[in-house]
């Protein structure tokens, strides 16, 4: 496998939207960019800015308004239905509501672009289906009926279906919606891993900002004013796009971690001494309670958090321990008494 990433999808001056008989609604225009293989690209944006429209246009489900979409160096319009089905695999938001069908049978449907008139699978097809199942690690689900699976499990089955389709490009429309948190992480990590293991180009839309910022290789920010802004999560952070993009009252972009956090209003401050996990936890708890806490602030009393080798927490004034607490909950109570 080649090690270099390549631009599999090129957009040239693309405009997307809806064409009706006598009025055309343009959702976004002037898009010039690329999507690379071996990369996980995440599309972020508020509801209604046109994430789904973009995905639908890129998968040739709806016509573009103007410009070019080149996939594997060919304009999308020159692909036949069959060629497209071997180039782009999709995972959609529409729930695949089939009864009496096993997960394996559903994944086998991914082979349809390659099977003959009756859809009969041959040895090679079965091998590819088993490989797809193994890549997504759902061997234990393969013989379950699809309608008995949880949303997260079903999503993995759909991803396996897209893998069985053996397309260089996979589009996913909000694959993490409706999943519980561990499943969200699992799906995102799985997709990231797949870009590395299979070299596929994976492009998805999501509302899970935190996860996307941590796992995606590239982020596309989509909004009405600026159109689409593209970069690695880190570049976008440094250039101030992220903080601008999601700026709302109560949300701040933490430059240190490159992630968003809830903004707190502080009424007092206290100095913290210590380091590591316990330091971070105490700081988080105090800030939630309206106390600005870190190494650099000045205060009469200070808290010694210790580290994982010591037990409990100490409240001190001028080198003298005035109170001790076993848990952060106790610490919070004692701080209130002593201030």
């Amino acid at each position: 496998m080649e090690d270099k990433k390549q631009a599999t999808i090129r957009l040239k001056n693309l405009a997307i939207g809806y064409k009706a008989k006598n009025n055309t609604k343009v959702v976004a225009s002037g898009l010039c960019t690329e999507i690379n293989s071996k990369e996980l690209t995440c599309l972020l944006g508020a509801n209604g800015v046109g994430k789904s429209t973009l995905l639908r246009t890129l998968s040739a489900f709806q016509p573009k308004i103007e410009g070019e979409i080149d996939i594997m160096n060919r304009e999308i319009g020159t692909y036949s239905d069959k060629e497209l089905s071997r180039t782009i695999g999709v995972v959609l938001t529409e729930k695949c509501d089939v009864r009496n069908m096993t997960a394996r049978e559903l994944i086998e449907m991914g082979r349809s672009p390659y099977t003959g008139f009756w859809g009969t699978l041959h040895g090679e097809d079965r091998k590819i289906v088993e490989q797809s199942i193994a890549l997504v690690k759902i061997e234990n689900l393969a013989d379950r009926m699809v309608h008995t699976l949880s949303d997260g499990e079903r999503q993995k089955v759909m991803i396996a279906k897209a893998l069985a389709q053996q397309t260089p490009v996979i589009f996913l429309d909000e694959p993490t919606a409706f999943l519980d948190f561990p499943s969200k992480v699992e799906i995102m990590q799985l997709l990231h891993q797949l870009t590395r293991e299979t070299g596929k180009t994976i492009f998805l839309s999501t509302h899970d900002l935190e996860l996307a910022l941590q796992i995606a290789d590239k982020i596309w920010l989509m909004d009405r004013q600026h159109g689409i802004t593209i970069g690695t999560p880190e570049d976008l952070a440094l250039e101030g796009h992220l903080s601008g993009f999601f700026a709302r009252k109560g949300i701040v972009f933490d430059m240190e971690t490159g992630l968003f956090r809830v903004e707190n209003q502080y009424s007092s401050q206290v100095r913290l001494v210590g380091h590591g996990q316990k330091y971070a936890m105490v700081r988080k708890a105090l800030q939630r309670n309206g106390i600005l806490a870190n190494r650099n602030v000045v205060s009469d009393i200070y808290v010694e958090t210790g580290d994982l080798t010591t037990s409990g927490f100490k409240i001190c004034r001028e080198e003298e321990v005035i109170a001790e607490a076993k848990t952060i909950e106790e610490l919070l109570g004692q701080l209130k008494e002593n201030s």
Binding site: F61, L84, R86, V90, L92, V98, N100, M109, S112, F117
Partner: protein
């Protein structure tokens, strides 16, 4: 479920068809011994002419009609349920059988008014006229639906258009009935009850031949039907031309319904229930299994219903539609109910 189990089940269903077919020939208001039935079927001419007539001109055509009609309606129902992703869909859902009824209503109810002759008295010519009217009515409604299927995007919209066409047809029939003489209305009502016995001699040959061509053709749609189950988006992504596939499925299901309705009247229930029965028995959604089994189960069930309608005592008095519903509905309901209970236990 493995291949061996499939084979056994299919074998059982096939045997049931043969048994019901023989019983259909054997049982009736006139009792004819098995030996004579066999003799007549194999071309022997020693038996009384009356018996020969009963077997060759009444029981055999009726049984074959039931067999073919049951198979056709079940396939049609399966196709409709799949493309509309609706368990309540059946052959009649797109207004196609209403179209047939409208055609028949025009001929039956207007002939008395315009020609001054009640069609019900015309015999064979009347019979042919009815078949033609039904086919014309059904196919014109189907043509409308196919036209609509090219314009509208969603299956649900199409379903609603079909149901609306059905209402319009029924309204027109109502108006026609209002202005008709009692005798004609009765003839129309009897047609509406459905019967496998209406098709005689030459017509039966034509009917069976047409169906023997169309049923295998409908099998060509197995792969598109499997893909359509996944929903339009996924099917399209897997290379299926949705509009074209939908048009062919509607055409196939529509023609099957139109032809059967033309010859047997609107037969209810079979087309709706048999696909459910097959899914429950074979526990699959794969049309490679469902299409052939729906055909077999449909044929078997239709033969059974015809048999019951003709049981000694009823003397052919029971209309087929009453039997299909009265006998079939509880059977299907109980099968589905058992299945549902077992599944829920696993699911929760």
């Amino acid at each position: 479920m493995n291949r061996g189990k499939y084979t056994i089940l299919i074998l059982v269903i096939t045997v049931s068809i043969i048994v019901f077919l023989l019983l259909n020939l054997l049982l009736g208001s006139v009792s004819i011994p098995f030996g004579s039935v066999w003799n007549i079927l194999t071309g022997g001419e020693d038996d009384p002419v009356a018996w020969q007539n009963i077997i060759l001109k009444s029981r055999l055509p009726q049984a074959l009609t039931a067999l073919v009609a049951g198979a056709g309606l079940s396939i049609s129902g399966l196709q409709m349920q799949t493309i509309f992703r609706n368990p309540l869909a059946g052959p009649s859902v797109l207004g196609i059988s209403s179209g047939a009824s409208l055609g028949v209503a025009f001929v039956v109810l207007l002939s008395g008014q315009l020609g001054g002759v009640a069609l019900s008295r015309l015999g064979f010519i009347g019979e042919v006229a009815l078949s033609i009217a039904a086919v014309v009515g059904a196919l014109s409604v189907m043509g409308l639906i196919v036209l609509a299927s090219r314009k509208v995007a969603g299956s649900v919209t199409l379903l609603i258009i079909g149901v609306m066409i059905g209402y319009i047809a029924n309204a027109v029939i109502g108006v026609l009935k209002f202005f008709s003489v009692e005798e004609d209305i009765k003839a129309y009502v009897i047609w509406g009850l459905g019967s496998f016995a209406r098709v005689s001699g030459n017509q039966m040959m034509l009917f069976v031949t047409i169906m023997a061509v169309i049923i295998p053709l409908s099998f060509l749609l197995i792969k598109p039907l499997n893909l359509l189950m996944l929903g339009d988006g996924y099917a399209r992504n897997l290379g299926l031309n949705i509009n074209r596939a939908r048009m062919w499925v509607i055409t196939s299901a529509g023609v099957l319904t139109a032809i059967v309705t033309a010859y047997c009247g609107p037969i209810i229930f079979l087309g709706l229930a048999v696909p459910h029965l097959c899914r429950a028995i074979f526990q699959t959604s794969d049309h490679r299994v469902l299409m052939p089994t729906a055909m077999l189960v449909g044929a078997s069930l239709a033969l059974l219903c015809n048999l019951i309608a003709r049981l000694p005592g009823f003397e052919g008095a029971l209309p087929v539609n009453s039997v299909t519903a009265l006998v079939g509905a509880p059977v299907v309901a109980s099968v589905l109910f058992k299945k549902r209970k077992r599944k829920d236990a696993i699911e929760f």
